[in-house]
């Protein structure tokens, strides 16, 4: 789960990390009023969760009311890389002399958190990591002790941060780690951390991704998630409500399965047999009939879908429950919207086959046959 910039900034500011004065606005008048209150110049920043907002025209620096009105009007409601901009952050423009990068993430290879500092802030840090890896100082942290202050200092000095601000940057890094740790972060980043002419540091951007699996112990952040999710893709929102792992893709063959690896394999096979996957949808382990019915509803809601392939290999999931769910979902239609191909294997598949209403679906015995049949159906419609 990814917080919006304004949410992450609030979390950072509450913890004591310096951030610029800012206000959220959802209409042009509100944005102008916020700019007047903060004082020009201000930055007007689209609150959507995509990288490269600046390049895409989602961030504008303005010097007076006319410019503020024009920029807010332009940004609010714009489509930024497929995301609708519903609000902007109006923020004090900071005069800076340097831009740093600081971040905390989990190094899965090491199985440990890692703190990162670089003097090459304000740019795409992934590119820096690839082209000039030595420009990023890294310090692994023992998760059972947390970050020691010396480690924060070490990372800051190793990165070559100016001594005049080294202490402040170390403090920001310590605070960032504590936040990451307390709030179950997966990534916490400030890029750029600006250095002013007076040797102050200030977080000009804020990224906070939370481990979804830990939201049960982060109720405050879970509330923010509901707010953050409200500007996403409609189908992905629906998937969130149903609690599915779902990714919408460009193709026309809808895919439903159990287990991430098997669902990805089904996508790959659709591609292999010349079709195009419309989505990734994992119903998860042990899905009962209503969940299966919701999954079908989900996939039918995508206008691009011309056929659906159901690939269930039961372990903890039971074939009879799956069959019941498919029947329930399809029996409510006078006419099935799109052809559905079903392949059931594993736990209780035989019981499932007995229950499954074969007037409503096409049954195939193997994964390969099921995928090929679904691809054929999708092609027939497209022709």
């Amino acid at each position: 789960m990814k917080l919006h910039e304004y949410q992450a900034k609030q979390v950072f500011a509450d913890a004591g990390i310096p951030t610029p004065a800012s206000q959220l606005a959802s209409d042009v008048d509100g944005a102008v009023a916020a700019a007047e209150e903060i004082g020009y110049p201000v930055a007007i920043k689209a609150q959507v969760q995509v990288g490269g907002r600046g390049k895409a025209g989602g961030i504008k620096l303005v010097d007076d009311e006319d410019e503020a009105r024009e920029a807010a009007d332009e940004i609010l409601g714009m489509d930024l890389k497929g995301y609708h901009v519903g609000s902007v952050l109006v923020e004090e423009a900071v005069d800076f002399t340097d831009e740093l990068y600081v971040g905390i993430t989990m190094d899965r290879g090491e199985g440990k958190p890692v703190a990162m500092v670089s003097t090459k802030g304000g740019v795409n840090i992934e590119e820096v990591a690839e082209e000039d890896p030595d420009a990023i100082a890294r310090e692994h942290i023992d998760p059972s002790f947390g970050m020691h202050p010396y480690q924060a200092r070490k990372a800051v000095y190793d990165a070559g941060v100016d001594k005049a601000v080294a202490r402040d940057v170390s403090n920001v890094l310590m605070t960032l780690y504590e936040l990451w740790d307390d709030r179950d972060g997966s990534d916490a980043e400030i890029n750029p951390l600006m250095v002013t002419a007076d040797d102050d540091v200030i977080a000009a951007d804020a990224v906070m991704n939370i481990d979804e699996d830990a939201l049960f112990r982060q109720p405050e952040l879970a509330e923010m998630e509901a707010e953050a999710a409200s500007t996403g893709d409609e189908l992905e929102q629906k998937a969130d409500e149903y609690g599915f792992d779902y990714v919408r893709l460009e193709g026309n063959t809808g895919i439903i399965g159990n287990g991430a690896g098997l669902v990805m394999t089904t996508l790959d096979l659709v591609d292999y047999y010349g079709g195009e996957p419309a989505n990734f949808l994992d119903v998860g382990g042990g899905a009962k009939a209503d969940r299966i019915a919701n999954a079908l509803d989900m996939v039918f809601s995508d206008d691009n879908v011309e056929s659906v392939v159901f690939n269930i290999f039961g372990g903890i999931t039971r074939g009879d429950e799956v069959a019941k769910g498919i029947n329930e979902a399809l029996e409510q239609f006078d006419e099935i919207p799109k052809p559905v191909v079903v392949r059931l294997a594993g736990t209780n598949w035989e019981e499932g086959m007995e229950i499954l209403n074969e007037d409503l679906v096409t049954v195939e015995q193997t994964l390969e046959d099921a995928v090929q049949r679904a691809v054929e159906y999708a092609e027939e419609v497209s022709e």
Binding site: K112, D213, G261, L262, Y272, D282, G286, G346
Partner: protein, 290 residues
């Protein structure tokens, strides 16, 4: 022969009184697994299907000589349950639980490095030695006894590939689902080493997926240390970069490693053929065994 588990394995089921724990303890016993105890705080003294339940894993070890635990504890408490198993000097702990916070697993991982216990999982289907014992939730009926070792990050993909093998009359020594989470106990390299050293394993299947660099590391290990023929499968060729496919283990970084392409080419370079379909994986194994 087998690796890690056989009919002497003495199993304690952590969470045996819960829905999943109870159901799968029964299934394991039906398969022939020697389930000797359950461990659930506050439920000591009860019995579940004739299996005595203790309040702590330590008691199950003291009273029933349990040497292996299978963990069906909800995610919020599962990290602690793994710590308990590590503190009980078990040989093996198998964590089935899905959705354990990553930071909890980072702490477990640290503790794990200080003990002799081996951890499988979390977020895995477990492991099975066909005809002897299964630890976890795998559907026992699709497996068959034989000479192929299998290691996989994905549960249902394991079932699919095993089904393809069994349908051709190719059986398995042991199948291990290592789980797809970012931080896991036993990884590909560990499992490959076990199979390489098992005289009864004549071929190995390795099923990976996008995200992380474990498959690349496994490829390097195979190149240097594995003489047993290995066939691979990588799920997620069509996954768009940057999208999360199911679990956190499946984020494509977009920076070269972690993609299906990079994993497949690393495996190919190590002499491992990678099937385009599960059926093709079975073709390769059949050729190895011919």
């Amino acid at each position: 022969m087998s690796v890690l588990v056989d009919d002497d394995t003495r199993v304690v089921v952590q969470g045996i009184t819960g829905g999943e724990g109870k159901f799968h303890a029964e299934q394991m016993m039906e398969y022939g697994t020697n389930v000797v105890a359950g461990a659930v705080p506050g439920k000591g003294g009860q019995e579940v299907n004739g299996v005595p339940v203790y309040d702590t894993v330590h008691q199950a070890v003291d009273e029933e000589n349990a040497d292996t635990s299978v963990i069906f504890v909800p995610p919020a408490f599962a990290g602690d349950a793994i710590f308990e198993s590590l503190d009980s000097d078990l040989d093996l702990a198998v964590a089935i639980t899905e959705g354990i916070p990553t930071q909890d697993m980072a702490r477990v991982n640290k503790r794990l490095s200080e003990t002799d216990t081996r951890l499988i999982g979390p977020n895995c289907p477990g492991l099975i030695t066909p005809g002897e014992a299964k630890l976890g939730i795998l559907p026992g009926n699709i497996f068959s006894e034989g000479n192929v070792g299998l290691v996989s990050r994905s549960g249902t993909l394991t079932y699919q590939v095993v089904d393809n093998l069994t349908n051709r009359g190719i059986g398995q020594t042991t199948a291990i689902g290592i789980g797809g989470d970012p931080i896991i106990g036993t990884d590909f390299v560990d499992a490959l080493e076990l199979f390489e050293n098992d005289p009864d394993t004549d071929a190995i299947v390795m099923c990976g997926e996008i995200g992380g660099e474990d498959e690349e590391e496994a490829a390097a290990f195979i190149d240097e240390n594995v003489d047993t023929p290995v066939a691979g499968f990588i799920a997620g060729r069509t996954a768009p970069p940057g999208k999360r496919m199911g679990h956190a283990g499946a984020i494509v970084s977009g920076s070269g490693t972690g993609t299906a392409e990079s994993k497949i080419s690393a495996l190919n370079d190590a002499g491992v053929p990678v099937g385009d379909t599960p059926e093709e994986v079975a073709d390769h194994i059949e050729e190895f065994l011919a």
